[in-house]
């Protein structure tokens, strides 16, 4: 296969592999050098600085983001601490207010209780006096009614009522 004759220029020199045909070497080497120079300039002038810049920028962005995240985390921790402090302070304030209110209420309550006690005892003595009056009134009324009734009974039974005797008998009975 290697040594088959091909038409064209190269075949005359085909001593075997085309690679060993040194007449084409200057051509290949010349164009290779041109190619390498072009690639070198494209890479060093445009591609490599650009990619390097992009990579550096990415690294910078990542570092910045991490720093920002760290800062935010710090802030969050601080905020939490402030919140906890505020909460504790609020609790303490609330407890104080509750205690104050309780003391106030206690004081009012004691005053009100004392006043109520005084009123109650005043009312009670008044009531007692009235109950005494009523009781006395009732005893008098009962005596009177009993005396009258006894009179009528005596009269109805045909006896002559003796006012003195009846009264004495009634009061003796009532006492019994």
């Amino acid at each position: 296969m290697a040594t088959e004759a091909h038409g064209g220029a190269a075949a005359e020199h085909a001593v075997g592999m085309p690679q060993l045909d040194v007449t084409t070497w200057p051509n290949q080497i010349f164009w290779l050098l041109v190619t390498l120079v072009v690639i070198y300039f494209v890479l060093t002038r445009i591609a490599l600085p650009r990619i390097g810049a992009v990579l550096a920028e990415r690294r910078g962005t990542i570092t910045n983001d991490l720093t920002a995240a760290e800062e935010l985390k710090q802030k969050a921790v601080e905020a939490e601490r402030a919140y906890n402090e505020a909460l504790a302070r609020a609790r303490a304030d609330a407890a104080k207010i509750v205690a104050e209110a309780r003391a106030e209420i206690q004081k009012d309550l004691a005053a009100a209780t004392a006043q109520a006690d005084a009123e109650i005892s005043a009312k009670a003595s008044q009531s007692e006096a009235r109950i005494g009056e009523i009781r006395a009134g009732a005893v008098a009324a009962v005596t009177e009614v009993a005396t009258d009734t006894a009179h009528e009974l005596v009269a109805a039974l045909g006896g002559k009522s003796d006012a003195q005797g009846v009264s004495a008998a009634v009061s003796a009975r009532l006492k019994g």
Partner: protein
Amino acid sequence: MDQFVVKPLFGGEHVEWYTITNVTLWLGIAVLAIIALMVIGTRGRAVIPSRSQSIAELLYGFIHNMVEEVTGHDGVKYFPYVMTLFMFVLVANLLGLIPMSFTTTSHVAVTVTLALLVFLGVTLLGLVKKGPAFLAMFWVSSAPLALRPVLAIIEVISYFVRPVSHSIRLAGNLMAGHAVIKVFAGFASMAVISPVAIGAVSAIYALELLVAVVQAYVFTILTCVYLKDAVGDAHH
């Protein structure tokens, strides 16, 4: 071996050094492909890259790390040269796998030129930067004194063989791969074995894709290793 023949594009019999040939065409296509990938592909300059920009960044990062790891911090300033070589070899290898294309890197003339550029560049750089101390790398100071002259001869020989192996490895791999595909493709014209032959062509094509990338990698990393002798710290 048709595919390896260098011929003028616009007629004419002789291939002069300036003649525009199929080599010129495919070298030009390689340049355009590199521009498309590395310049047009990255035009967005996006912090969040597009696909083509990702590829360009990947290649950049890959070679940059390689240069930095192999040659050390001092070698990073030679990164553009290494990148030029790598991009050319990689793109030329891959373009060569397009059917009917011409594989520039399968030609010894091309790879020898590349290898000689590396060899001469590294040697001159070493002599300029290190002066006579550069030659100390041939004198293996960690070996017993009696062995050193022998080792020095071996080291010198191996140093001068470098461009040969460097260039023949690349051209040989590519040429062999293309030749094998061609052989199987020839068998494909025989109806009985054509399914096997076509299967083999497909399989070898996949292998050749790998070879194209790996050889570009090998060529580049060897360049870095040689460069390390010139700019890196003490050898051995």
